[in-house]
C-alpha cells in the first residue's frame, strides 16, 4: 500500500497533463485532416488562451467570462492566421507551409512577450484549492475540471463530426477534398473552420492548465511539441488516437518524473515520439497514413 499512494498520485497528475495534451493533439489533427498542414503555431494558441484569460480575469474577475472571452479571442486569432498567413500562399509546398507556420509561431510568441513581458501570471483555480482525498492520494478540484472539460469537449467534437451537417462536410473534406467540392461542399470554408476550431481547443487547453502551471509567453512551444507527439503517438487525424496519445504521454511523463528525474521530464515526449516513428508510424490507433 505504501508504494501504491505515490503511483496513484502520479497517475492523477499524468492524466491531467495528458488531457491537456489530448486537447492540443486534437487541434493538430483537425487542421491536418482539413489541409494536411501541421500547424506549428498550435502551441502558441494554448499560450494565448492562458494569457488572454488571465488578462480578462484581471479586468473583470469572473472565470466564466474569462474562459469564454479568451476562447473567442483566440479563435479569432486562429481565423485571422489562416486568412493572412496561409490562404495567400501561391505555392503551398509542405516546406513553405512548415516555415510559414513556424514563423507565425515565433511571431505570435514575440508579440506576446511584448504585451505580457517575461513574467509568469497566475489564474485562480476554477473552484478553490481544497484537495479532495481519494484513498491514499489527493486530487485538486482543478484536476477534475481539466478531466471533465476535456471529456465533454471530446464528446462534443465526436457528436459534431458524426451528427451535424457541417461536421460531416468537414469529414468529407478530410477523406477527399476534390470529391467534397464536387458535391457542393465549400472546402475553403471548412479549412477556415478547422483553424478556428483548433484554435478554440488550444485556447481551452491553455485556460484549463493556467491555474496549475501559471501562464507565461514561452509556454506554447513545449506544449505544442507535446501535443504533436501525442497526436503522432495516437495516430494523426484520429479523434480517439489523439485522446489516447495524450493520456499515454501524460502518464508516461508523470511516471518518468516520479521514478527517474524531473529534469528530464520533457525528454519523455520526444523519446516516445521517436519510438513510435520507428516502430509504428501510423500511431497506436493507426488511421490512414
Amino acid at each position: 500500500m505504501e508504494n501504491f499512494a505515490p503511483l496513484l498520485q502520479y497517475l492523477i497528475s499524468g492524466l491531467t497533463n495528458g488531457a491537456i495534451y489530448a486537447l492540443i493533439a486534437l487541434g493538430f489533427g483537425i487542421i491536418y485532416n482539413a489541409t494536411t498542414i501541421i500547424n506549428f503555431a498550435q502551441g502558441e494558441m494554448v499560450m494565448l488562451g492562458a494569457l488572454c484569460a488571465i488578462s480578462i480575469y484581471h479586468v473583470a474577475p469572473s472565470l466564466p467570462l474569462a474562459f469564454a472571452g479568451a476562447v473567442v479571442l483566440v479563435t479569432c486569432v486562429g481565423l485571422v492566421f489562416e486568412r493572412l498567413a496561409l490562404r495567400p500562399v501561391k505555392d503551398p509546398t509542405p516546406i513553405a507551409l512548415i516555415i510559414i507556420t513556424v514563423g507565425g509561431a515565433v511571431l505570435i510568441k514575440g508579440v506576446a512577450m511584448l504585451i505580457w513581458g517575461k513574467e509568469a501570471y497566475a489564474l485562480p483555480p476554477f473552484s478553490g484549492n481544497d484537495p479532495i482525498h481519494l484513498g491514499p492520494a489527493t486530487i485538486l478540484p482543478q484536476n477534475l475540471w481539466v478531466l471533465g472539460i476535456t471529456a465533454i469537449s471530446v464528446l462534443a467534437l465526436e457528436a459534431f463530426f458524426r451528427l451535424t451537417l457541417v461536421g460531416k462536410a468537414m469529414r468529407a473534406c478530410a477523406y477527399n477534398t476534390r470529391a467534397a467540392r464536387l458535391v457542393g461542399i465549400a472546402a475553403g470554408r471548412m479549412v477556415q473552420l478547422s483553424f478556428g476550431l483548433s484554435a478554440a481547443l488550444g485556447a481551452g487547453a491553455g485556460i484549463l492548465i493556467a491555474p496549475l502551471t501559471l501562464g507565461v509567453y514561452d509556454m506554447g512551444t513545449m506544449l505544442g511539441l507535446k501535443g504533436f507527439s501525442a497526436a503522432i503517438i495516437g495516430g494523426l487525424g484520429s479523434l480517439a488516437g489523439g485522446v489516447l496519445g495524450g493520456l499515454v504521454l501524460g502518464v508516461a511523463e508523470a511516471l518518468a518524473t516520479g521514478f527517474i528525474s524531473s529534469g528530464y521530464r520533457d525528454a519523455v515526449a520526444f523519446l516516445l515520439l521517436l519510438l513510435v516513428l520507428f516502430l509504428r508510424p501510423q500511431g497506436l490507433v493507426g488511421g490512414r497514413k
Binding site: I95, A96, V102, G103, V106, K109, G110, G263, L273
Partner: protein, 322 residues
C-alpha cells in the same frame, strides 16, 4: 563568351577576404567577421538540406551545440588534442543525425521538422541538466584555442584566417556538390520525389545523406565556435538559434550557396547595429520567415531578382521564361 579570370567568384572571394586580412586592424570587426563565417558555415549546411533537398531541420542549433560541447568537454576537461576533439564532435553529431533521420525521413516532411525540433529541445535540456559534464547553465570555460604547427589561433585576426580559409573550402566543396551528379539528384528530389524515384534516385538514402552532411557542417561550426570564444553556455544553442538559422537561409535564398553568406552576414550584422533588435528579435524573425515565404518563396534576393527580370521581360514584350 570569354570569362575574365578575376571575375571568377572564387577569386573574388579570396581577394576580398584576403584584402580584409591585410588592411583591417580593429579586433571588433574581426570578431564580427568570425561570427559571420561560423554562421555562414551553419547556414550553407542547412541550405543544402532546406533549399536543395527540401527537408527542414528546426533543431540545427543542437548539432552546433553537440560539436561545440564535444570539443569543449574533450579539450577542457579531458585534455584531448583540439583537432581530434573536433573529429570526435563530427562523429557524435553525424551519428545523432543518422539516428534521427532514419525514422523521420522515411515519412513526410513535417516528421523531420518535429523530430528535429524535439531533438533540439532535448539537447538543450541535457546541456543544462548534465552539469557534471557540461557545467550546466553557467557554461563551460577554459577551452583552449586551436593551433597548427605551433601557430596558435588565439586572436580575432588569426582566427579570421582559420575560419575564412575553412569557409572558402567548405563553400567550394558545397558548390561542387550541388553541381555534381548527386547535386542534381538532390534537386530532383526537391522538385518531385516520385519523379526522382522513377529516375532511379534512392530518395530516402539521399535525404539521410544530406541531413547527416548538414549536421556535420553544423558540428564543425560548433567546434570552431567553442575554440573561438574559449567558453560556451547552453544559451547559444537554444530553439531560437535554430529559428535564426532557418531565417538566414530563407532571407539569403533557398538553394543558393552565396545567398547563405548574405543571409548569415545580414542577420549577424543587423543585431549589432540596431540595439532595439533585441526586444523585437522574435517578432522580426517571425515576420521575415512569413513574409518571405508567402511573397517571395525563393528567398529575398532571388525573389527580388525574379520580380525585376519579370518586369524587364514584360517591357520587352516577351513572356517570362520559367
Amino acid at each position: 563568351m570569354t570569362r575574365l579570370w578575376f571575375l571568377n567568384r572564387w577569386v573574388l572571394f579570396a581577394v576580398v577576404a584576403g584584402g580584409i586580412a591585410a588592411f583591417m586592424d580593429q579586433d571588433y570587426y574581426y570578431t564580427l567577421l568570425n561570427f559571420i563565417g561560423i554562421h555562414t558555415l551553419l547556414v550553407v549546411g542547412l541550405n543544402l538540406l532546406l533549399g536543395y533537398a527540401g527537408q527542414i531541420s528546426l533543431g540545427h542549433a543542437a548539432f552546433f551545440g553537440l560539436g561545440a560541447y564535444t570539443s569543449g568537454i574533450l579539450t577542457a576537461t579531458v585534455g584531448v588534442d583540439p583537432w581530434l576533439a573536433l573529429v570526435a564532435g563530427l562523429a557524435v553529431s553525424g551519428t545523432a543525425a543518422f539516428l534521427i533521420g532514419l525514422p523521420a525521413l522515411k515519412l513526410r516532411g513535417y516528421y523531420l521538422a518535429m523530430a528535429t525540433l524535439g531533438f533540439g529541445i532535448i539537447v538543450y535540456i541535457i546541456l543544462n541538466e548534465a552539469s557534471d559534464l557540461t557545467g550546466g547553465p553557467s557554461g563551460l570555460s577554459g577551452i583552449p584555442s586551436l593551433s597548427l604547427a605551433g601557430f596558435a589561433f588565439n586572436t580575432p585576426r588569426r582566427l579570421y584566417l582559420l575560419i575564412w580559409i575553412l569557409l572558402g573550402l567548405i563553400l567550394y566543396i558545397s558548390a561542387n556538390l550541388v553541381n555534381s551528379r548527386t547535386g542534381r539528384a538532390i534537386r530532383a528530389l526537391h522538385d518531385g520525389e516520385a519523379a526522382a524515384e522513377s529516375l532511379g534516385v534512392d530518395t530516402f538514402r539521399l535525404k539521410l545523406k544530406i541531413f547527416v552532411w548538414s549536421a556535420l557542417y553544423a558540428s564543425l561550426a560548433g567546434s570552431l565556435f567553442a575554440h573561438t570564444l574559449n567558453f560556451i553556455a547552453p544559451s547559444s544553442f537554444g530553439f531560437m538559434f535554430s529559428i535564426k538559422l532557418v531565417t538566414m537561409v530563407v532571407l539569403g535564398g533557398m538553394a543558393s550557396i552565396w545567398g547563405s553568406l548574405l543571409g548569415a552576414g545580414a542577420l549577424t550584422v543587423l543585431p549589432e547595429l540596431l540595439t532595439v533588435f533585441h526586444d523585437f528579435e522574435m517578432v522580426i524573425f517571425g515576420a521575415i520567415l512569413m513574409a518571405v515565404m508567402i511573397f517571395l518563396p525563393r528567398g529575398l534576393v532571388r525573389g527580388i531578382l525574379d520580380l525585376y527580370e519579370n518586369r524587364r521581360y514584360k517591357r520587352q514584350g516577351g513572356s517570362f521564361p520559367v
